[in-house]
């Protein structure tokens, strides 16, 4: 192809990349929570609770950057209703179209789980709700929601892969995969942070979460490597400032390698709270910088 002719969408990173990150984290968190919900010992349910309390509030932020980046924000509803026909519209080959719809489903599930936990924690009382209160519905939308969550975490990457921009096209089909694992790790980090905040960061659950996180972050490193191999010359922008700082320093070093080292090391001699807090923050920052880097590198 001759790259120079293919135009960049000029998506604003502070909208779109931030959306990728927030949605990814939210989805990651939700899915972890769901897993805990479905397969974890219901004992403390700290993780799943945390997940639900993270997933939805984050989602609430999501539409803002999405709509703000539109040329005609007031028309955002066209994403769901064909304005000339008045009927719902879904374009299966357009990740953006499908994504919008799934985002709707995911938000619904997240909202339910959110309420559900508020009820369980007696934050709000909802007599009717608590009367028939049991885990079945919770499991149901946990399943549905985590599937949707996976999608939300992943489709943003696919969306980039199915364009003609050289870098995004060349990195096909791995972008979605990378975004999923990244979403999982940032989700995990978010949960951990929440738990620290709630002083619940202890016990088997957290252990298991950590273990999971390590696996995820290793695979994230592997995926990044593969992605760069695929990208070849189109990845050259990543070798220039500010990407060296954002991507290599921010994402790879501080966002993944250092936290990983930290995690493995802390298994033998634990650190104090502060470093722990810091390394989760690093993971989150790394996740954000990853999205920004990959978005902007494709728009240069």
């Amino acid at each position: 192809m001759s790259p120079e002719i293919i135009q960049p969408p000029e998506w604003a990173w502070y909208y779109i990349a931030v959306y990728f990150f927030v949605a990814g984290t939210s989805a990651g968190a939700y899915f972890i929570g769901a897993m805990e919900e479905l397969f974890g010992s219901g004992g403390e349910r700290e993780v799943s609770r945390a997940a639900c309390y993270i997933a939805f509030p984050l989602l609430v932020l999501v539409p803002i950057p999405l709509i703000a980046d539109l040329g005609r924000p007031e028309r955002f509803w066209h994403l769901f209703i064909y304005n000339q026909g008045g009927y719902p519209y879904l374009n299966l080959v357009s990740p953006m179209s499908v994504g919008s719809w799934v985002l709707l489903i995911f938000s619904a599930c997240a909202l339910l789980s959110f309420l559900d936990n508020l009820v369980a924690d007696r934050v709000i009382s909802f007599p009717l709700f608590s009367r028939y209160y049991n885990r079945i519905p919770r499991r149901l939308y946990a399943v549905l929601g985590s599937l949707a969550g996976f999608f939300i975490a992943g489709y943003t990457g696919v969306l980039l892969n199915v364009t003609a921009r050289p870098f995004w096209a060349a990195t096909s089909p791995l972008m979605g995969a990378l975004f999923i694992v990244s979403g999982a790790s940032t989700g995990a980090a978010a949960i951990s942070l929440y738990l620290i905040w709630r002083r619940r960061n202890s016990g088997g659950e957290v252990e298991r979460l950590e273990a999971f996180d390590r696996v995820v972050m290793v695979s994230e490193l592997v995926l990044i490597a593969l992605l760069l191999v695929l990208a070849g010359r189109t990845a050259l922008p990543l070798m220039t400032l500010p990407f060296v700082a954002m991507f290599w320093l921010g994402t790879v070093a501080l966002g993944i390698v250092v936290p990983l080292w930290f995690k493995y090391r802390s298994r033998r001699h634990p650190f104090g709270d502060a470093p722990v807090l810091a390394h989760y923050l690093c993971i989150l920052a790394g996740g954000l910088l990853l999205r920004i880097s990959l978005l902007q590198a494709g728009q240069l």
């Binding site: 000339q84 026909g85 879904l90 374009n91 080959v93 096209a169 089909p173 695929l230 070849g232």
Partner: protein
Amino acid sequence: MGISRRKFLKVTSGIVGGGVAAELGILNVDTAAAAAKAGKVPIKSGRQIPSICPYCAVGCGQIVTVDDAGVIVDIQGNPDSPINQGTLCPKGAATLQLVKNEQRWSTVKYRAPGSDRWEEKPLDWAMSRIAELTKKTRDANFNEFQDMPDGKGGTIRKRVMNTYAIASLGGATMDNEWNYLHQKLMHALGVVYLENQARI
């Protein structure tokens, strides 16, 4: 690297091309809706007046379209013309912007001697002032006779009936009718510095 990547893309599209194409068929390419538009897509229209391109001397035929309000809305090549058969060059194609142009002046501008600015004036005022100046200048500088070389080193008095004080320089994108009227008037006034772009 690039090659292998290209191969990879090829394979990819090869594998899934069919599948996606199918998807497109069902889910996306909705000609039904668009087909409804066919035939009743609105289009510029109006009275069509034959004209000629104002630029070069090839003489391409043009069609000027005027809407109901009498405003020129479109100018393009005349398909009947055996010269251009409906085609135009970029200048000819831009003729509409020559007619409808924000920078075009449609009022008389006057610059008084020594002034550093234009002022607007009524057309009638300008015409009488110009006529007045023309007469004044001609009458003050009219030659009935002039000594001309007789070819034998001497001079001979010739009737010339002209004035050298007024000159006229015309463009060559102005009608034959103007050329005729203008040479006629200038000759009647005795103007001999009568020139035109055609010299160049």
